[in-house]
């Protein structure tokens, strides 16, 4: 039971930071960025490159993550200047297509540099701790803790700084905030920086929890979208909640014996579990259901 909670939280942490970044960009720029998760991939690899300079030292990974966040944030601003800023008047679909062109370019650049194989962060072998009957590695603890710390920092940024207030205003109404003297272009650049920075950090978390390979971002793209949309586009807290919901749904969905439920539909079986191969499908199904039934998300999102 505790193990389910632990596994769910780990999965949620893999998704949360990526989802928060995505929800911000989706809200302010008004299109779903298919390149977003690739900033995560890039971040994970940059952190790997830095950490490999001092293997077996945990602090190297921290330094690597920091570098990754900054570089990824700058890359995000660069992408905006080169591509998306020229498409401010274009329809969301055009922006979306440009973003998946960018995503392909980024993913395969990573693959060109580092090759198609999987890697792991050079950390010493870890012994899982026993917590309340469940197993958790120190790395996993760090992942969950780091995610929480980031969310807290982000919350403070959004609510207690002028920058944060300006960001929320821009998201609400770009023209209005431009007219009232807040420089929208500056805010947009900030959103790209933070959004891609979060993505990079999310990528590092994902790499720590699973593995690092060029397809890692792409493979997690739909669950990240699901988390962001579940929580309501533009609602960063919602994105975290969405990530938790998905984390729990995936883990619990696999552990539940569905046989009694199907008994009512006339299927008799001793036990019936969802095969692990379908783990991702759980997120996909939730994503489809949410978009069909309540696309504005479960939590209060901004009216668009």
């Amino acid at each position: 039971m505790i193990q389910i909670v632990i596994d769910s939280l780990i999965r949620a942490s893999e998704l949360a930071l990526l989802a928060v970044g995505l929800t911000m960009v989706y809200d302010v720029l008004r299109f779903p960025s298919f390149a977003h998760v690739e900033f995560g991939t890039v971040g994970a690899f940059i952190a790997l490159a830095v950490a490999s300079l001092a293997p077996d030292h945990a602090w190297a990974v921290v330094v690597g993550a920091t570098v990754a966040v900054i570089v990824s944030g700058l890359l995000g601003i660069g992408a905006d200047r080169l591509i998306f800023s020229r498409l401010r008047q274009a329809s969301p679909i055009i922006l979306m297509i440009a973003s998946f062109g960018l995503g392909i370019a980024m993913r395969f650049t990573v693959r060109a540099i580092w090759g198609p194989d999987a890697h792991g962060y050079p950390l010493p072998l870890q012994r899982p701790w026993l917590v309340l009957g469940g197993r958790i590695t120190p790395t996993a603890v760090i992942i969950i803790a780091a995610t929480l710390v980031c969310m807290l920092a982000f919350h403070l940024l959004l609510n207690h700084t002028r920058l944060g207030v300006a960001m929320r205003a821009t998201a609400d109404n770009a023209q209005l905030s431009e007219a009232s003297g807040i420089y929208t272009e500056r805010i947009i650049r900030l959103v790209w920086f933070i959004g891609c920075g979060f993505a990079a950090l999310g990528g590092v978390m994902l790499g720590l929890a699973t593995q690092i390979d060029p397809n890692m971002g792409f493979s997690i793209m739909l669950p990240v979208f699901a988390a962001a949309i579940l929580g309501g586009i533009g609602n960063p807290y919602g994105a975290v909640v969405g990530a938790c919901v998905l984390g729990f749904a995936e883990t619990i969905g696999l552990s539940i014996n569905w046989a009694p439920l199907l008994h009512w539909a006339g299927v008799t079986a001793g036990y019936l579990f969802i095969p692990t191969g379908y783990k991702q499908a759980i997120s996909f199904v939730i994503l489809i259901l949410i978009l069909l039934v309540r696309p504005q998300g479960l939590l209060k999102s901004r009216v668009s």
Binding site: I93, A98, G101, I104, L222, Q280, L292, P295
Partner: protein, 306 residues
């Protein structure tokens, strides 16, 4: 070299069918289908299953592929009929991925067939009558005929009042609704048509390649087809075929160069980077694509009446 060109043009033809399918869905009707590979996959598997497990002739298998693609299109379109474009995009992407996971996890008949093993040994039609060299031309001919038919079909649709309705829906529903058109039904039919054409592509691919597996049907395939349609010019079916030829040429271009094994992966990656950059450049600088959309002119008809 000739054999390679025959192979290349066959692949261009098969992907060209998918481009035509997407051109009809997105170019004509404005449906942002990011699950295009789903039709391809369903067509491939259904044809392979019908032929190998059902013992049916390949022609019937291909018809089954068309039907399967069309049905998948209807199933996708039914629940999401009025969804806005970006949500439609995400839902179709998810739907295709779910379908792929189902195929990945389901054995077909025997324990080593289907699922992650894929389906091997898919027969090709009339193969026994020809030498290997000549057979390449035969299959190319088959694909070419299919492409010609599909092209004629989508061009014809564009000239009917139904096609006009699809173009009207492309930008927004409201005017069409206010003029009494059943917009949902029109969309569903567009998905059925597009799905059928792409399903045929899948069936042709299965019998051409002899082997299919879930790895052949990743979302990347959909993005490649999108690159083809965007490059060629959405709204123009001929442009879709031109875009297909260009992208496939790039994709297969480096087979000419003598590359050592070590560099093969690097070159493969760089090809894809080029395609990604190409998409961005087209969006920024050539938004209408290589071949712009033509328009139907009626001025002449007035002159004729006078």
């Amino acid at each position: 070299m000739i054999a390679f060109l025959v192979y290349l043009f066959t692949i261009i033809g098969i992907y060209g069918l998918m481009s035509l399918s997407l051109s009809l869905q997105y170019g004509t009707t404005g449906l942002v289908n990011l699950g295009e590979v789903g039709f391809f996959m369903v067509g491939a598997y259904v044809s392979a299953i019908m032929v190998m497990l059902g013992g049916l002739p390949i022609g019937v298998g291909l018809l089954g592929a068309i039907a399967a693609g069309a049905v998948f299109g209807v199933l996708m379109a039914l629940p999401i009929g009025d969804l806005r474009q970006d949500y439609w995009a995400i839902v179709t992407l998810a739907a295709a991925e779910i379908a792929r996971l189902i195929f990945l996890n389901t054995n077909l008949g025997s324990p080593y067939v289907g699922a992650s093993y894929g389906v091997a040994g898919i027969p090709a039609p009339w193969q026994q009558h020809f030498s290997t060299a000549a057979y390449g031309y035969v299959y190319l001919g088959l694909v070419a005929v299919c492409v010609a038919c599909a092209y004629a079909l989508v061009r014809w649709v564009g000239r009917t009042p139904y096609g006009r309705l699809l173009k009207a829906i492309r930008e927004s529903d409201e005017v069409a609704l206010a003029l009494g058109k059943d917009v949902r039904r029109a969309r569903i039919w567009a998905m059925a048509l597009g799905g059928g054409i792409a399903g045929l592509a899948g069936g042709l691919f299965a019998h051409f390649n002899g082997f299919i597996g879930p790895d052949y049907f990743m979302p990347l395939e959909t993005f490649l087809v999108w690159a083809m349609v965007i490059l060629g010019g959405s709204g123009n079916h001929l442009g879709a075929l031109v875009g297909t030829a260009v992208i496939e040429a790039i994709y297969n271009s480096t087979r000419f160069l003598d590359i050592s094994q070590a560099h093969a992966s690097l070159v493969a990656s760089l090809r894809m980077v080029l395609i990604g950059v190409l998409i961005i450049l087209v969006i920024l600088y050539l938004p209408r694509g290589l071949v712009p959309e033509g328009r139907r002119r009626y001025g002449g008809s007035r002159a004729a009446q006078r």
